[in-house]
Point group: C2
Chain length 353, copies 2
DNA sequence: GGGGTTGCCGAAACCGGTTTCGGAACGCAG
DNA sequence: CTGCGTTCCGAAACCGGTTTCGGCAACCCC
């Protein structure tokens, strides 16, 4: 009897006592059975599990939280203000986090805060036990959140890297390797004058991407001179300015690699204004896989990051961290995928140098 | 003594018993004092409130939830798959929801689900009491979520309108009024041949925008013939196709109004391919205020929606709904703001007709 | 056959709050 | 002084789980 599942919202839920009564056991025993305690007979465990399933029993998160101290929720605090940020991928990222969380019976608590005042938001979430740990998106090299959470003993996982990663679990996309490949690819297509336009140097990715490009060029015997490096271009307007300065050099580059698609999309206008054509006599490679790049003419070559998978991994790592795994075992890199589109298909013959 | 605030995560939290001990009262009394029960002396109430504040007491959400049945969290289930959707504005929307929630001591629980299988996700969130109610983003005219939650007696607020709004609280942007204004504006600039490219007719906005445009034109004595109406253009590629068909008509329009910026951005290519120039001899107006529109050449005129404010309002309405206010009092419209940019500044002289 | 394990479960405390109930202290009219 | 109604707080139950502790029964070994 009472075998029906609950009709979504309706009155009385199925509690653990109901299950216990149905089984003729006490709720303590049922609890231990469902939580795989070793002092429960295998037969009883199975019987309890099946009956709970049949009755549609779902433990009340808040009730277990009060005793266990865990609410089985991961926290994500998004910093506002930086309206240049993760916007186009946020939904994928959230899906990745949420799906992996759901698969393990966890949920996702999201909050937002102005860039400076994130501390109070974390504090509140922790005090009220709305989250057992946090994913820190867009970690900066010098990020106050890290010290804050580290000293508080709250579990967290970084997305991106920090200047002092001791005691931190982190996940990152290997953009250095991506840039290294980009360098090889351009050189193999005949380029020798290759420039780099960086993004915000508060973030580790900036140095990684420049370093990766430089390393890849060096492996092919090509130098990256200082005048070929522009920095701080983290939106289209700044990308246009940086591109203009590069193209106005006495010996302008034949290829430009950008740390960000948003900046790379700023290549078209200054190029056209100077009689250069992207994809014909100016190679452009971006990074991020921004969907907008597909609509450029020619389409923007870029490195696409699987934000959903990143969310999956980060969530998984965070839950493992919360369960006590050592941070040293919780560090991983994910490769980016090259989108070899028109803007990069400029092949120079050896004599054009 | 013990006047220090808790250092974020550290060991023992301040519980209500601690506060009670400090005051020489019982925890029941303190609880009633903090929750404004009428049988507590005003002096006691104040004393309790101040001591709690001083000691940094923050009630444990899970603990109150178990007795009150409220976890003070609003739920948001994002449907994946529809990758054409709210992407660029999601962060603003989340900020709006989260900020208003936080201001009232609530939090935001986010989950994702494939379009069809949202039911289980809602079910789980309700069963585990991870949310007291839901904001339904992107409500479709015939939306199974509505019937599901309505029959289950779970509080919710629609963003967008539903075919049968009885018993629903809803919030919407007045896009009909926006389109009406767009019609007036175009007619006042000399246009008489004005076309409309709609989006996904599963949503109420589609009919509202077409209806608004039609009404605005009618008020100026202008008809919207059937061949000037294309539908189902909810991304750039589809926008390009619809534009091409309109421009290939024997008597092509001089202005096109799009239900969505994403489609409107598809006007440029087919126009240029036919010797027409947006902003010169073809007026284009979109809707959404997509940031990408600012980078078009000329920039795309559009209607911008304040997603942050929408989030604020929706959260506020939902909390009031959860607290028991009648749905009839929880319905509101918000105007959109016109971004009068280059693509709409086509002024025709009367003789050109 | 007695004593010590071992396996398995019941009983009850506990977590941190909320809510009900009852009664002490006080004021006031008769 | 008595009787009655308020005001205000203490005591304890309660919410739905988890966890500790103790004990009964069966088994094992000598």
């Amino acid at each position: 009897m009472s075998g029906m599942k609950q009709p979504l919202g309706g009155g009385s839920r199925v509690t653990i006592s109901d299950v216990a009564a149905e089984l003729g056991l006490t709720k303590g025993t049922v609890s231990r059975a469902l939580n795989d305690y070793p002092d429960i007979a295998e037969a009883t465990r199975l019987r309890a599990r099946r009956t709970a399933e049949r009755m549609g029993y779902r433990p009340l998160g808040s009730a277990q939280a009060i005793r266990t101290g865990r609410c089985r929720a991961i926290g994500l605090v998004l910093e506002t203000d930086e309206h240049d940020a993760h916007r186009p991928f946020l939904d994928r990222f959230l899906s990745g986090l949420s799906d992996t969380a759901a698969a393990q019976g966890w949920t996702l608590t999201v909050a937002t805060a102005p860039v400076g005042a994130a501390r109070e938001t974390y504090q509140r979430l922790i005090d009220e036990r709305k989250a057992d740990g946090f994913v820190l998106p867009r970690t900066r090299l010098d990020d106050p959140r890290v010290e804050m959470l580290r000293s508080a003993g709250v579990p967290f996982v970084l997305f991106g890297q920090h200047s002092t990663p001791e005691g931190c679990a982190w996940f990152d996309v290997d953009s250095a390797e991506a840039m290294r490949s980009a360098a090889h690819l351009l050189v193999d297509r005949g380029h020798e004058r290759i420039a780099y336009v960086g993004g915000n140097s508060d973030y580790a990715y900036n140095g990684q991407r420049e370093g990766g490009l430089r390393a890849g060029l060096a492996e092919r015997g090509i130098d990256l001179p200082a005048e070929y490096v522009k920095d701080g271009a983290w939106n289209r307007a700044l990308g246009e300015a940086a591109t203009a300065r590069l193209l106005d050099l006495p010996t302008p580059p034949t290829a430009i690699v950008y740390a960000l698609d948003r900046a790379a999309l700023g290549a078209w206008r200054p190029a056209e204004a100077r009689g250069r054509r992207v994809g014909i006599d100016l190679a452009v490679i971006g990074y991020d896989g921004d969907p907008e790049g597909a609509f450029a003419e020619p389409p923007l070559a870029s490195w696409s990051v699987d934000w959903g998978k990143a969310g999956n991994e980060l969530c998984d790592m965070l839950i493992r961290r919360i369960r006590g795994e050592a941070v040293e075992d919780l560090r991983a890199m994910m490769p980016a995928t090259f989108l070899d589109r028109g803007s990069a298909s400029v092949v120079l013959n050896p004599t054009s140098a």
